[in-house]
């Protein structure tokens, strides 16, 4: 295994469509709930411990080789609003395209054939990590990091926030990222005994509510 593959996978320039998504930051900025580095940090911490933990759990389980279709169903059960299910599948399809070009594997091909319109992005991300020879914990890190790096980058664009401040926010979240990735990987290890119930299902009411509202905006900068 090459640990360095994690840098390729988690790079913001990995061509899997993430740049067009704000992870809920656009509606939060519009509502005045994200207005500076401090509120961005609060937002990211909340997203990390809810949506981020769920994504990391799914990614770790997928990287560990658990049935991706079963994980895809578990992701649906953890995503009650259709706007976020649509986004997750769209991004999953884009991740699949990038992953098959980058780390071709039979397992990726099989999932692409079973879910041509896209599986949930964390499931595909985990399988990409597996194809790259990475460990479940690595996949959890990549998924967790993405749930905070996306909103941080988007906020730099939306608020013209000082990019140094935004990057410092991500650095301050490092201990939370460690905890989240470790908890997600540990949960994935319990699947053989407890099934997908073992995976985290943490929710954030405002992320769900505002994602669905944002999807109805006639004019917006980000796809989600």
């Amino acid at each position: 295994m090459n640990r360095a593959a994690l840098f390729v996978l988690a790079d913001g320039r990995f061509p899997a469509g993430g740049h067009a998504h704000s992870g809920g930051a656009e509606p939060a900025v519009a509502a005045g709930r994200i207005k500076d580095a401090a509120s961005l940090e609060d937002f990211c911490r909340g997203r990390l411990h809810t949506a981020g933990l769920v994504a990391a759990g799914l990614a770790a389980a997928s990287a560990a080789g658990h049935d991706p279709l079963e994980l895809d169903e578990a992701a649906d059960a953890r995503t009650p609003v259709p706007a976020l299910r649509t986004t997750a599948r769209k991004l999953g399809r884009q991740m699949m395209r990038a992953a098959r070009a980058t780390w071709p594997s039979g397992e990726l091909d099989a999932l692409a054939a079973a879910r041509p319109r896209g599986a949930h992005q964390p499931v595909v991300l985990g399988l990409a990590a597996r194809s790259a020879g990475l460990a479940p914990l690595d996949a959890a890190y990549a998924a967790a990091y993405e749930t905070v790096s996306g909103p941080a980058t988007a906020t730099v664009r939306l608020l013209s926030l000082d990019p140094f401040d935004a990057t410092a926010v991500l650095a301050r979240l490092a201990p939370d990222l460690d905890k989240t990735a470790a908890a997600a990987a540990a949960a994935a290890q319990r699947i053989p005994e407890d099934g997908t119930d073992a995976l985290p299902a943490a929710s954030a009411p405002l992320l769900d509510i505002t994602a669905q509202q944002h999807a109805a905006w006639p004019v917006r900068l980000f796809a989600s």
């Binding site: 067009a20 704000s22 769209k90």
Partner: protein, 232 residues
């Protein structure tokens, strides 16, 4: 029953990552042409004019990349240059050049979805969001690209060059009707473009005039002939 999977049966999976010339079944796919250029130079107007001229002879679809969602797509829909199902919009997260060059995944999905939904197409036009002079399309997304500038944006743009002006397969200098009013030197622009682009073609257009888009339409037809006869 799974309510989110209805489309899985309608849309088969793809086996290509980028713009491979042949589809999984061996048939040659549509020619993909990108249109880029600065804000306000007339990209959307060029797309609209091309559709009006070519829609009776070719099966066409359009992908727009808006800065603000769907603005350009809405314009094309209002102008009714194509039926609504032939126009789709890609959201770019405030970075239009990223979506056509660095991370083309959303645009590829949009093009493929149009092909899947509409059946065999002859031509797909991918319009970039208005951007700067360095924005070019990835070869993984389009087969040829048109860069649209206008005389009112400054007649020194061809001289300044930049990847769009220098390397685009066709450079369109639009709004020639405005040249007298803004004091632009069309001959100078042509000279500068020649110096920057060598043998690559340049088209001067005034879309306000009847048949103004003809030089671009002719170039597209020529590319399409070459594409259909292509070696692979």
């Amino acid at each position: 029953m799974h309510l989110d999977h209805d489309l899985d049966e309608t849309f088969p999976e793809r086996h290509t990552y980028s713009a491979a010339p042949k589809g999984p079944d061996g048939t040659r796919r549509a020619l993909r042409i990108g249109l880029g250029g600065p804000v306000g130079s007339g990209k959307t107007a060029t797309v609209a004019a091309l559709c009006r001229v070519l829609r009776d002879e070719l099966s066409i679809a359009v992908v727009t990349n808006d800065i603000y969602t769907r603005e350009d797509a809405e314009f094309l829909l209002r102008e009714a240059v194509l039926p609504a199902e032939r126009i789709t919009a890609v959201e770019t997260g405030a970075c239009p050049h990223t979506a056509i060059r660095d991370d083309i995944s959303a645009n590829l999905e949009a093009v493929e979805d149009l092909e899947d939904a509409l059946g065999p197409l002859d031509l797909v036009l991918v319009e970039s969001g208005g951007d700067n002079l360095t924005a070019t399309f990835s070869k993984g997304l389009v087969d040829a690209q048109i860069f649209v500038i206008d005389v009112a944006g400054g007649d020194d743009i061809p001289r300044k060059g930049g990847p769009g002006v220098t390397t685009a397969d066709l450079l369109v200098v639009n709004k020639t009707d405005l040249a007298p009013y803004v004091g632009s030197d069309l001959e100078g622009m042509a000279r500068d473009a020649k110096a920057q682009r060598g043998e690559l073609p340049v088209a001067f257009t005034s879309l306000k005039n009847e048949g103004g888009v003809k030089p671009v339409a002719d170039w597209v037809r020529e590319r399409l002939t070459g594409w259909t006869a292509g070696p692979t």
